[in-house]
């Protein structure tokens, strides 16, 4: 067993220069890809991301540099046996039209010389895994499948011999948005089961953020502009190039990744026990600058909002109005924003895991969180 610290894939100064081209297509790229993670290579068309991926299974032979797979230097290993250890899915899926679904999935196991029984069992297992009934689909030909089904078979085929590493080149690229969303979710669920090291190429930053444990944003000649977790990239883009690539939707994207607990809550809110004395509550509200007071139950759980007028009533259980937007501190800012919008209130009441009141999150804070880092880069880009 190799130690957990050894990266599953290590690229060392990997370079590809095509004959007759002045600049390398991939220029001295070094990267460590930890095992069990989805590493997304993302960048504009022509940046060399597909080339970089194809250097890993040596569909393209590197001009210089080294490739390590699970600690082994595979730069000079036999490419055919190397590729049988690496699952491979391309955008067009590339199912063989003259093979049945079962034969397609069995491609690599057959190359590896598994016996028939083992191959048959594995095919059925994989079909089950991707949610397709083996008895129904085993004997079908690719042209008898829908786009989404073909895509699933493509993934099943790549996993057939249980390779530790999979390379996926825009596997969801040619699929309609609704199906794509569903397949992405299925893919993530599958990955939780199988825990492969997956190198995933896309030009779609949203897909990268959704799927990646780690994202490498590539610039020209496959130069790594930033290689980090999606959260870190969104929170602090390393350069104007990265900020630009993340694009206009970055603020909203970041809201998906930041938790409520990551922003400063308004803790100055006045509270009172809902079973307490109304007169005392009114005093406290008057003493503060606030317009409303939050009533909590005995366990500190938020119950109702009341203003000074409501507190003249003696039955606090019926005074004011119930709290609308309530979010846990582990929720994302996006969920908090959603709660605010649907409950039509400018603030969300934040509670902890047990339901006890923690503080208030207002619209303004969410806005600032969504905007903060970006404005800095916008400002930096304005020519002086």
């Amino acid at each position: 067993m190799t130690s957990q610290a050894t990266p599953m894939i290590r690229l060392d100064e990997l370079t590809k220069t095509y004959r007759g081209q002045p600049h390398p297509a991939v220029d001295r790229v070094s990267m460590d890809m930890p095992r069990g993670e989805i590493i997304v290579l993302v960048g504009p068309s022509g940046c060399g991301k597909t080339t970089t991926m194809e250097l890993i299974n040596r569909l393209i032979e590197p001009t210089s540099g080294r490739i390590y797979l699970d600690g082994d230097d595979v730069t000079r290993a036999d490419p055919d046996s190397l590729r049988r250890r690496i699952g491979y899915v391309i955008q067009q899926i590339g199912l063989f039209p003259h093979f049945t679904v079962a034969e397609n999935i069995a491609t690599v196991p057959k190359l590896l010389g598994w016996d028939k029984k083992k191959i048959g069992d594995r095919v059925d297992e994989l079909l089950d895994m991707v949610g397709m009934d083996p008895s129904e689909f085993r004997g079908r030909y690719p042209k008898q499948l829908s786009g989404g089904q073909r895509q699933r078979i493509g993934v099943a085929r790549a996993m057939a011999a249980d390779p530790p590493v999979m390379l996926m080149d825009e596997p969801f690229g040619a699929i309609d948005p609704i199906t794509r969303d569903r397949l992405q979710n299925e893919f993530l669920r599958l990955q939780q089961q199988v825990q492969k090291t997956i190198v995933f190429v896309t030009h779609d930053i949203d897909e990268a953020i959704k799927l990646g444990d780690r994202i490498a944003i590539l610039g020209e000649r496959s130069q790594i502009a930033q290689y980090d977790t999606p959260a870190n990239i969104l929170a602090s883009p390393a350069s104007p190039y990265v900020a630009d690539f993340i694009g206009a939707g970055a603020s909203l994207k970041r809201l998906h990744l930041s938790q409520v607990s990551s922003v400063e809550l308004d803790t100055g809110c006045v509270t009172a026990r809902i079973d307490g004395d109304a007169e005392q509550a009114r005093e406290r509200l008057r003493a503060s600058e606030r317009a409303a007071l939050l009533l909590l139950d005995a366990d500190g759980r938020p119950q109702r909002w009341v203003d000074a007028g409501d507190l003249s009533s003696t039955d606090l259980f019926k005074a004011g109005e119930p709290v609308g937007a309530v979010v846990e501190s582990t929720s994302t800012l996006s969920e908090a924003l959603n709660a605010m919008l649907t409950s039509n209130s400018g603030v969300a009441v934040v509670i902890d895991r047990s339901g006890a009141f923690q503080g208030l999150l207002d619209f303004e804070t969410v806005m600032v969180a969504a905007r903060s880092e970006r404005d800095f880069y916008r400002a930096a880009k304005v020519p002086s």
């Binding site: 194809e54 299974n57 569909l59 055919d80 046996s81 190397l82 590729r83 049988r84 491979y88 391309i90 067009q92 899926i93 590339g94 063989f96 039209p97 003259h98 093979f99 049945t100 079962a102 491609t107 690599v108 190359l111 008895s135 129904e136 085993r138 004997g139 079908r140 030909y141 690719p142 042209k143 008898q144 085929r157 790549a158 390379l167």
Partner: protein, 253 residues
């Protein structure tokens, strides 16, 4: 076993049966008519010397041997050449190979066979050689086109999964090129069946001999029998080649 979900709808298969039965029926009708026609004729000794069952059978066998053997030789030469011409690293041979193939077909068949006979002498082998040179192009070109039209993403995905170049060729590229290659084989076969009639000028007695005798001896029944049999044989072979083509085309395409 895999469930057969490819089963064609009833109507489809009925049309297929009609298509497969049509040609044999037509040929049977033509054959019977020809036999009936000849039976009604008073044949003189000259005619009887050509028009007798053992003699005609020999003509047909000789004809099929010429066409069959030359087609097999063409397949053995042109398919590997066509494969070679589409391999990366050997693609430079493609234009050369095509020029030679074109040259073979551009020269009139009779002229080409005459040239071969002049060089190699009269006989069965020379005729086969001439036919091979004449019919190489369709198989060569169709092999190249058939392989070139294979979706390159399939080749990439085959290589990416660890198939060797040879495995990719034999398991993916060739099966997918089969329909196009077979169409070329069928064309070559028909060319050879047709051209083999000319062999009579060079001492090989195929069906062309019957036609030629009919002309030389000025005997209409002989001429008709020769012409109808040569045409009928060409149609029959074309039909059989079509059936084989359909049977050998991989399912799923």
């Amino acid at each position: 076993m895999a469930v057969d979900v490819m089963a064609a709808p009833v109507e489809h298969s009925r049309r297929r049966v009609l298509r497969w039965l049509g040609m044999p029926l037509l040929l049977a009708v033509v054959g019977i008519s020809l036999y009936a026609y000849v039976s009604t004729q008073e044949l003189d000794t000259i005619e009887r010397r050509v028009l007798n069952a053992p003699g005609l059978t020999d003509r047909v066998i000789e004809h099929l041997q010429l066409a069959g053997l030359s087609t097999l030789v063409v397949i053995a030469i042109a398919v590997p050449l066509g494969i070679l011409a589409t391999r990366r690293g050997a693609r430079f041979v493609a234009p050369v190979v095509l020029i030679l193939g074109n040259l073979g077909q551009a020269i009139p068949s009779l002229g080409l066979i005459t040239l071969v006979v002049l060089l190699a002498g009269v006989g069965f082998k020379s005729i086969v050689f001439g036919l091979v040179a004449y019919s190489a192009l369709p198989i060569l070109r169709n092999t190249m086109v058939g392989l070139q039209q294979v979706d390159q993403t399939l080749v990439k995905s085959a290589r990416g999964m660890g198939m060797s170049a040879w495995q990719t060729l034999t398991r993916v590229e060739l099966p997918l090129a089969v329909p196009v290659i077979l169409a070329g084989v069928r064309t070559a076969l028909i060319i050879n069946i047709g051209t083999a009639t000319l062999s009579t000028f060079f001492g090989v007695q195929a069906l062309g001999y019957v036609i030629f005798q009919g002309i030389q001896l000025d005997r209409t029944p002989v001429l008709i029998v020769g012409a109808v049999m040569a045409s009928g044989l060409a149609l029959l072979v074309d039909y059989l080649a079509g059936v084989v083509e359909e049977l050998l085309t991989p399912r799923g395409l």
